[in-house]
Symmetry: C2
DNA sequence: TGGAAAGGTTACTTTTTGTAACTTACATCC
DNA sequence: GGATGTAAGTTACAAAAAGTAACCTTTCCA
């Protein structure tokens, strides 16, 4: 019988939950993409413009992962030439609260470091 | 005069703000560490136990970065042997709302995939 | 006729993470 | 008094993720 040190339960549960979220929303781009698509549905090229700094390679990877996790839907539109539309799912839109909270803190932080 | 396509303003601001946050809270461990320290101050070894899966190497790196960003404080205690305590700063604790929001979504998501 | 836009993919490089062993100083076990 | 353990890390090396830039196909527009 080892005298194991018990992790704090309440804390451990929180950490586990956060970990679950970070597994789905990993990398620095997914939250931004979700936030964009919460705002409105967009095409690949629009996202490339909106999510500043992301490369095509990363965007397509991230979109695939988000689609696999059923947070967004990819639709190929029957236009000439074909366009592709990415839209948040109902489930994905439950993340809106989360993205808003992050953005709010970011705005406050920006004010703080810019110095009022 | 190029016919530049304007990014959506409201959306762009949000994306910028999120990007700022992700620069500070990058990687998959920082948010968990902050959440832990919001719960109570902890020593290095305690964090190593609480933040399941993190390695010593990553923990010390992440702690350094968080300290640089003034979200936590490192204190060496004059004990035998020396112990080191990490504590959230007042500023860091403004992230509590953010970590809670993430954890809440994580809990709901877990229920959903486990299939209630 | 030849850009440019749309929606990507590929090859290659750089950066980040992860793994595991090692360190120094004290403390306890047998 | 040698072996083992805790505390708080660091180091060297390997694997994974991200970034960069060029390329591809189809179609529109001048």
């Amino acid at each position: 019988m080892k005298p194991e040190i018990e992790p704090i339960k309440e804390c451990s549960h929180t950490i586990l939950a956060i970990h679950d979220v970070m597994d789905i929303l990993n990398g620095k781009w997914k939250i931004s993409i979700i936030a964009c698509l919460c705002y409105k549905k967009m095409r690949y090229s629009e996202l490339l413009r909106e999510v500043k700094g992301i490369s095509g390679r990363m965007l397509s990877r991230e979109l695939k992962e988000l689609e696999m996790n059923q947070l967004i839907i990819r639709t190929v539109l029957d236009t000439q030439p074909v366009t592709v539309e990415y839209e948040i799912t109902e489930y994905g839109s439950t993340l809106k609260n989360l993205t808003n909270t992050i953005a709010e803190w970011g705005l406050k932080h920006r004010k703080r470091i810019i110095g009022k």
